[in-house]
């Protein structure tokens, strides 16, 4: 039993689409930027890491006390590491009290801290004295920059492409009468 022409055409189109993408993979010569792996530690018993627009969830790995960030960037540097630390610190929720949220009576804050309290009450991300995240709660450890692996001809990908082209030729060959 031979396949109808319509089925052959659809199967051929699918095989062709896969073949083009395989070709892109086998010949892909674009150079990726290095990967920066940054390591931080935090206190998971006290703090929780909230979602943050500054941190892509797929680049984040949290296991026990360790936070690792994997970012592909040509700008991997100490400055970037510090910026990541700041973003993570902002994303950490280490528990808080109504007082730390600016909900205490004004006379409990002291005059020098009242401007900060006013900003806090307006919704700004301000840390009041005594409410800071300490080094026990969160601290940066180190970062390393991994260079991309040199591209190699993947024999299996090449064989898969050949198998695909053979199947494509069989599908596109006119059906025998």
């Amino acid at each position: 039993m031979s396949l109808p022409a319509g089925i052959r055409a659809i199967a051929g189109a699918l095989l062709l689409a896969v073949a083009v993408s395989q070709l892109w993979n086998v010949l892909g010569l674009s150079r990726s930027p290095p990967t920066m792996v940054s390591h931080f530690v935090f206190n998971p018993g006290k703090c929780a890491l909230r979602a943050s627009p500054d941190i892509a969830p797929q680049s984040l790995s949290v296991e026990g006390r360790n936070i690792q960030l994997w970012v592909q960037s040509a700008d991997a540097s100490e400055t970037m590491f510090k910026a990541q630390g700041t973003a993570l610190r902002r994303a950490l929720d280490c528990g808080t009290s109504p007082w730390c949220e600016g909900k205490g009576a004004d006379d409990t804050y002291g005059t020098d801290q009242l401007p900060l309290v006013q900003r806090k009450r307006r919704g700004e991300a301000v840390e009041l004295r005594g409410c800071e995240i300490t080094a026990d709660d969160f601290s940066p450890v180190s970062f390393k920059v991994l260079q991309p692996a040199s591209r190699r001809l993947d024999a299996l990908a090449a064989i898969a492409l050949i198998v695909n082209l053979i199947a494509l030729a069989m599908v596109l060959r006119p059906a025998r009468k």
């Binding site: 039993m1 199967a11 896969v18 993408s21 892109w24 296991e63 692996a149 064989i159 898969a160 199947a167």
Partner: protein
């Protein structure tokens, strides 16, 4: 029964080989993955090896018992099974055609996106699965056993070629050697062994079948050897890694699961409350946010980093994480459960390839690790059967 026997035989040979290697094999202190695992499970490689050996012996006894039960079940089941001719009838009807092409179209999208991502993104050698790739790898892992089942069912060279092309595309992208191995073993070597066995009485055909089998075994060995060597070189970041490392890599891969099964028991003994149970495992397979399964948790414990992966803590690891009962009981009853489901469904449609692969994969990663995928794969096959029965026959069929 060919594929089920092949799967059970493979597991028995693998467990028996592991017992032999662990009992009288090389010094395991040279294998980094094993040393790494023993560093966590303690106290040292020698103590760790003894426990791994006892696990291997227990698992071997359990799977031999399962194989005997499979033969008994097979002899009890006197139904005549349509081993696949129905598929070519189905593929000639519009309903099943739509289903098969929809499945292939979905897979095409996955493969295209994965290839495009891989082609433009050379990652550091230390990264085995890039975080963005894992959904594609999971979807491909869901699809390839089904493709292999379709490949085994069809007798039309054209469909075989199409399924083989998709299988090859998945194997080329998969970060797991086990995928290539399973495709070669179940898709080529096992059927050739059966064919060679059936031809043993025919003098000329006997030698032809034997030659074909030997060629396939040699090609499979070369493919697996090449894959292992490339991986050793890539992960070591050293292109001068010699083929001698190949045997070391294969032995390490073969024995590490027994040590990871032991690690699961140690972790459960230390922090039973923090170990994911089978519900977590099922939920993580459906990609519920923030849920990790047992094998992912163990992997993260061993290989800290942004790379994603899973250990293979076997049915033993799964048993200790989910129950206080004797773990080898689960190593016997889980594969038996798969066999019972296979025989129960055989009256509707025989899916030996799916269940053979499920037996093999669950022996490595646990039953709950593969159950969600198996449910979806079996569901698709049942849908195919239902649509075949509901579809009218094509008005005009072109003879081949």
């Amino acid at each position: 029964m060919l594929y089920l026997r092949a799967a059970l035989g493979l597991i028995i040979v693998y467990f028996a080989g592991a017992v032999l290697l662990l009992a009288v094999g090389p010094d395991l202190g040279a294998y980094s993955d094993i040393v790494l695992t023993c560093n966590v499970s303690g106290p040292d490689v020698a103590g760790c090896s003894e426990r791994a050996l006892s696990i291997a012996v227990g698992l071997l006894v359990a799977i031999v018992a399962v194989a005997l039960m499979a033969e008994v079940l097979h002899r009890q089941d006197l139904r005549i099974v349509d081993s696949g001719a129905w598929f070519d009838r189905a593929a000639g009807k519009p309903g099943p055609q739509v289903l098969i092409l929809s499945f292939l179209a979905m897979l095409t999208v996955v493969l295209m996106l994965h290839n495009l991502m891989r082609g433009g993104n050379a990652l550091p050698a230390a990264v085995r699965i890039a975080p963005g790739e894992s959904p594609f790898v999971s979807l491909e892992n869901l699809c390839w056993p089904l493709l292999l089942q379709l490949f085994a069912w069809t007798r039309q060279p054209l469909w075989k070629a199409v399924f083989a092309a998709f299988l090859a595309a998945v194997a080329a992208l998969s970060p797991f050697r086990a995928v290539l191995f399973a495709m070669l073993f179940f898709g080529a070597v096992a059927p050739l062994v059966a064919w060679a066995w059936s031809q043993r009485a025919v003098s000329k055909a006997k030698w032809r079948a034997l030659a074909a089998l030997l060629c396939m075994v040699a090609l499979s060995a070369i493919a697996m050897g090449y894959e292992t060597l490339v991986r050793e070189r890539m992960y070591a970041g050293d292109a001068s890694v010699q083929p001698a490392a190949l045997a070391e890599g294969l032995v390490s891969r073969a024995l590490t699961p027994f040590f990871q099964a032991d690690l699961a028991a140690v972790v459960v003994a230390r922090h039973a409350e923090a170990v994911p149970d089978f519900i977590d495992t099922m939920a993580s397979k459906f990609r519920r946010d923030g849920v990790t399964n047992l094998n992912q948790r163990l992997y993260a414990l061993l290989y800290q980093g942004g790379s994603e992966g899973q250990t293979t803590s076997m049915l033993y690891g799964e048993a200790v994480a989910n129950s206080a009962y004797w773990p080898f009981w689960w190593a016997f009853s889980a594969p038996l459960l798969l066999l019972v489901i296979f025989f129960a469904l055989r009256g509707t449609v025989a899916m030996p390839m799916l269940f053979a692969i499920a037996l093999w994969r669950s022996a490595m990663g646990g039953l709950f690790d593969i159950l969600p995928a198996l449910i979806l794969q079996v569901g698709f096959c049942l849908l195919l059967v239902a649509s075949e029965r509901a579809s009218p026959a094509m008005r005009r069929q072109v003879p081949s």
